[in-house]
Symmetry: D2
Subunit: 144 residues, 4 copies
C-alpha cells in the first residue's frame, strides 16, 4: 500500500474573508493529490483523455473539515487508494499543515470511467488497473 | 417544510476542459443556495458575522454527481433543512438543469457555529433557531 | 450606442481575506457582462462555438481598481463596445455597487476570432458584425 | 536587476472548456510570481499585513495574451520590478511554457499601499523600500 504526498501553498484566491481555505477548494487539493498519485505511478491522466478518449468523472465526493488552513500556509495532501473495481476508483485524502501533526481535513473522491464516443460508462484502462493491482491489491472489490 | 430555489448560469470560469461544471464548484452552488435560503428567511449571514462576531463554518460536505451541467446552462439549486440542533445545521441541496426533471446532483452541507473571540464552538444565534423552529421543526434533533 | 447592464452578488468564493473582491475576479465580472451583452443582442456565444467552430479568445485585458466591493454586495457591470474591426472587438466595462454612484472599477477586454480547425485567426461571424454595425457603428475601425 | 522565476502546473480548475488557461487566471499566476518575488527577497507579505497592519492592494493590472497554455502543462512565471515610488510598485510578468522559448503572455500589476486603520494610502514599508533600492534602484521614480 502506497501513500503519495504532495504540497500546495495557499494563495489569496484560495482563502475566504476569514483568511482560511474556502470549503469547496479542499476538493481542488484532492484533485492535485489524485493527479500526482497517477503521475507518480507513471500514468498520465492527460494522455488517457487524448489517446484513449476516456475520462474519469467524479461520481461522489465528501470532506470532513477539522481545522482551518490559512493564507500562505503549506497544505500537505496525502493520497491513497481506498477501494477499487474494474469500473470505479475511490481515493482517500488527508490534509495537514506542513510540519504539523494535527489533521485539518479528510475526504474521499470516487471516480467512474466514461468513453467519450458514446458517453457511456466503460472499464478503467488496463494500464491503470495494472497499477491498482500492484499498489493496492488488497483494496480491490471493496467498494459499496 | 420549505424548499428554497435559486438559479445560476454557468460561465467559463465554472466549467472544465470537458465543458462541464467542475466537481468542486457544485459546493459553490450549494453555498449560493444556503445563503439565499437564509436571506429569504430574513437572516443575513453577513450581519451575523459583523454584529454577533460569530460564523458558521462548514464541518462536513458531500456531493453525488449524477448528470453533468454544461457551459451557459442554468443550474437550479433547491435547498432545504435536512436536520438541526442547537449547535449544528445540515442543509440538503439538489441541482437540476432549468426546465428539466433529471437530477444532476445532490449533496449535504453541515455547519457548526463558532465565536470569533475565543474561536470556540458556540450555540447558533437565537434568531436563526427561531427560523429553524418555524420552517423545519420536524427536522430538529435528528442529526447523527 | 447601447450600454448593457447586468448584476452579480458576491459570494465567499469571490472575496479574499480582506473580504473584498479578489483582483483577478473582476475579469470574471467582465465576462458576465460580455456574454450578457451578446445574449441581449440575440447572439449566443455557445452556438457560435458549436455550430461555426469558431471562438473569440481574449487577446488583451486591463482593469483599474478604484474602490473595493465586499462580500454579499451586488456588483453592477455596465458593458459597451469601445471599438471593433472585422477581426477584433474591444469591450469597455465599468463596475459600481448597486444603488451607488461611485465607480469601483473600469476595464477593457479585447477579443480576436479563431477558427477551431486550423487554429488560425479568422473574421468575426457575420451575424455578430451585423449586430456591431447596428449597435456601435461609430466605434468601427477605431482600434489601435 | 533581478528576475525571479516560479512555476505552476495547470489543473482542471484552471482551464476552460477549450482546455486552456482561463484569461482571468493569468492574474493568479502573476500573484504567485509577485508573492514569490517578495519571499525570495526575504519579505513576507503575510507578516506585513499582520504586524504592520498595512496591505498592498492592486490598483491597475493588464495582460497581453499571445499563446495558450493547456491543462497539465507547467507555466513559468518570470517577475521583475518595472517601476516604483515611495507609494507604488509596478511588477512586470512574463509567462512561458516550461522548456519553451515562445512567450505565452506578459502583463503588469501595480500595487499601492493602504493602512488598515484609517483605510488611507500610506508609504510602502521601509523594509520593502530597502529591497527595492537594492534590487531595482534604476527603476525608481519612473512611474507614470
Amino acid at each position: 500500500m502506497v501513500i503519495h504526498k504532495t504540497s500546495y501553498r495557499l494563495t489569496f484566491r484560495d482563502v475566504d474573508s476569514m483568511g482560511i481555505l474556502y470549503y469547496a477548494r479542499y476538493f481542488f487539493l484532492f484533485e492535485i493529490g489524485r493527479v500526482e498519485w497517477m503521475r507518480d505511478e507513471g500514468f498520465s491522466y492527460r494522455d488517457m483523455e487524448k489517446k484513449m478518449q476516456q475520462s474519469l468523472p467524479v461520481t461522489k465526493a465528501d470532506c470532513h473539515y477539522i481545522a482551518p488552513i490559512s493564507y500562505d500556509e503549506i497544505a500537505i495532501v496525502r493520497t491513497e487508494i481506498a477501494a477499487w473495481t474494474q469500473t470505479t476508483i475511490r481515493f482517500a485524502h488527508t490534509i495537514h499543515r506542513e510540519g504539523q501533526d494535527e489533521l485539518c481535513a479528510k475526504g474521499q473522491v470516487e471516480l467512474g470511467c466514461l468513453a467519450h464516443g458514446d458517453k457511456r460508462p466503460s472499464a478503467i484502462p488496463q494500464e491503470l488497473i495494472t497499477i491498482l493491482n500492484n499498489q493496492a491489491r488488497e483494496k480491490r472489490g471493496r467498494l459499496r
